[in-house]
């Protein structure tokens, strides 16, 4: 499911995606489809075999009208008719953190070489795709971006990882114990340490 397009980037691995709004598409994404922790993929360019894989780590609401106290020239109803572009500028932007890439079915948990361009469509990943992304060549559980994420000075990272691990746990029954060790570790870091 396509949820939007890239409109801006903050760094090589951090992108802003504007979620499709009214007038752009017929079936607009529901909020739960671009929720915090949603896995998404994007192609650096049209025919690249590589797909970047990222996760929604933040949501921003845009409303340029808010705070402009001057008198309105025309009512919303008039605007719909006279200048529909302007109306669309209120909307939702999600912050996407790139975790790795997939090429030919093999997942790579590392900073990808290529970056995506403005206008690149962003697509959600289904459950199967998420599981596949978290498997190494031998089919064992792998979460190679865990250390890089934890190293970011970002308070939401721990809960992001925790939610990812919780989501993945049922898919890897053989590695439940390892996942639990990581979860405990995170819970300690995210819940106990900051409170102490």
């Amino acid at each position: 499911m396509l949820i939007g397009t890239i409109v801006k980037s903050n760094s090589h691995i951090s992108y802003l995606c504007r979620v499709y709004g009214k007038l752009e598409k017929d079936d607009l994404p529901r909020p739960d489809q671009y929720a915090f922790g949603t896995f998404v993929t994007l192609r650096p360019d049209e025919d690249s075999p590589v797909r970047l894989v990222g996760v929604v780590r933040d949501t921003l609401l845009l409303n340029p009208d808010y705070g402009s106290l001057g008198p309105r020239l025309s009512s919303t109803r008039d605007l719909e008719v006279l200048s529909p572009d302007y109306l669309n500028e209120t909307g939702v932007v999600v912050d996407i953190l790139v975790l790795g890439s997939v090429e030919g079915g093999a997942a790579r948990h590392a900073v990808p070489a290529l970056a995506a361009g403005i206008g690149t469509p962003v697509e959600t990943v289904d459950d199967e795709g998420i599981t596949a992304f978290h498997q190494d060549a031998r089919g064992r559980f792998l979460i190679g971006y865990y250390p890089q994420l934890l190293a970011r000075p970002d308070p939401v990272v721990a809960s992001l990882l925790l939610s990812i691990l919780e989501r993945l746990e049922p898919a890897f029954p053989g590695q439940r114990r390892v996942i639990n060790v990581l979860k405990n570790n995170l819970a300690w870091k995210a819940r106990v340490l900051p409170a102490g």
Partner: protein
Amino acid sequence: MEYTKVGTAKGPGDHAHEFLLITPDDDGNCKIGEFVFYTLDAGDSRRNVLGRITRRSPVRLFPDSFMASPEVTPAEVAAAIGYVDDEDELFEVAVTVMGHYDPRLSAFVNPRVLPRSGSPVYLAPSEMLSEVLSKRTVAQRGSAYVGWLLSRGQEDVPVALDVNEFTSTHLSIIAGTGSGKSYLAGVTVEELMKPYNKGCVLIADPHGEYDTLVEMPNKPEFVENGYRPRVKIFRPDQVKVKMSNLGLADLRHLLTTLGERMDWILTEAFNRVQNKMGSAYDGSWTLADLIREVEEVGQEQIDKGADYSSSVYGLVWRLKQRFEHSKSFDDNEHLDLNALFQPGQCTVLQLNEIDQRDQEVIVATLLRRLLYARMGTQKGEIPETDERYIPYPVFVLLEEAHHFAPASGDAVSTPILKQVLSEGRKFGVGVGLISQRPGKLDGDVLSQCMTHFIMRIVNPIDQNSIASAVESVGRDLLDELPALSKGQVVIAGASLNTPVIAQTRTRLTKHGGLSIDAAEEWGRYFADRERRERDSAVVDIRTRRNQLYRDE
């Protein structure tokens, strides 16, 4: 030759002759006590500088949180977050430099240059170590092959000690009980009795565990070109000391706490009996002679008007009590020195069943006579026909040495033992001291021994007394002592080029001091008793039943 690289030199260590190396140590080569080397350019040749590993610490450890579940290895957790390298461990190893071996000096020369940072460090090959660690080679004249380097395979690097060293500058065997001291002493004696040594050895054996050495003459390893070692065992009732060989201190020690007057009378009488009957070590007085002198001294005092009669009476009574029926002290019989000491002969003095004080006096008189005999023989004062004529060096092995030179200092044997340790070298009298309590052994005595066999010791007091008395053993080796198992031994000192941790070789003769299998013996006796009780129980029941019937 291709050498095995074990790691990469990192830089200098904590002190001047130490460097650090970094290694993943996949093959487990970098054990403490293991030997490694680096190369140095020396003009047109290269030198291999040997060093010993003294410490090792991991520099890369999994975080504690990876070990949160005992069911999951930290490596699995690391693999899950993308770390799949097999070499997850990395060690920093400290190496103390010994130097390069100079065959002309037959010693290690320290080059005072540490390896360059980043240069390779190699495992010392067994052939190299066999050449440089020991002063001798196996089965060479004057060698004692007691075991092999523990860190290598069986017999890969034999440890062959220099017999001349430890038989002249003395030996100590120290370890906690049951660690294999007597076993190792047995190995050492076997080596001394091999055809290439033909040693002259006496063992003071308070536990009667060395009589199995009698197997030696019947083992092919000991026989060569008409040589066959002799083993003489003296049973406890055959160990005799002549009264006139006793010194005043011995008498005092044997009589224990004498009153002031008695002591004075004894001293006076002893001096007279000595003067009348010859020189200090050639007297031949008897108990009766001594008692006569005691009575005479007493009578003189009584004549002067002093009342000494009760003291005289008491002293005579105690002398008779102590010596008249003594198994160990005799008016005429004693052990001829030339019967005890012969090259190619191993003499075992069994001292079990003999009272502790008597043992001390026996050993003290024996050592005294031996030392004076060797002195006299060397100075040409003793004729060849005399039993004291001993024209060759001898080696005496003392079990339970802490009884003969206790730290508390109240043994008659301590002074003569110290004299032997300090002067014995000049006169060819060497001793080997065996003790399970170095802490209870006189400190001087231990530090006078120049070769040390140290086995498993757990007690920290004993470890400290070793650390202070034994300079040749570094702290790193002492730290290994509690971890040694039976038969593993730290050998240090003058008889080899550098301290090593060795595995004692297997004895050729049976070991006499076998540990008792308590459970097995209890089981056997219990079964016996059970049977007896069952038998008697049957009788009991029958008699009781009869009584019941009778009551009815």
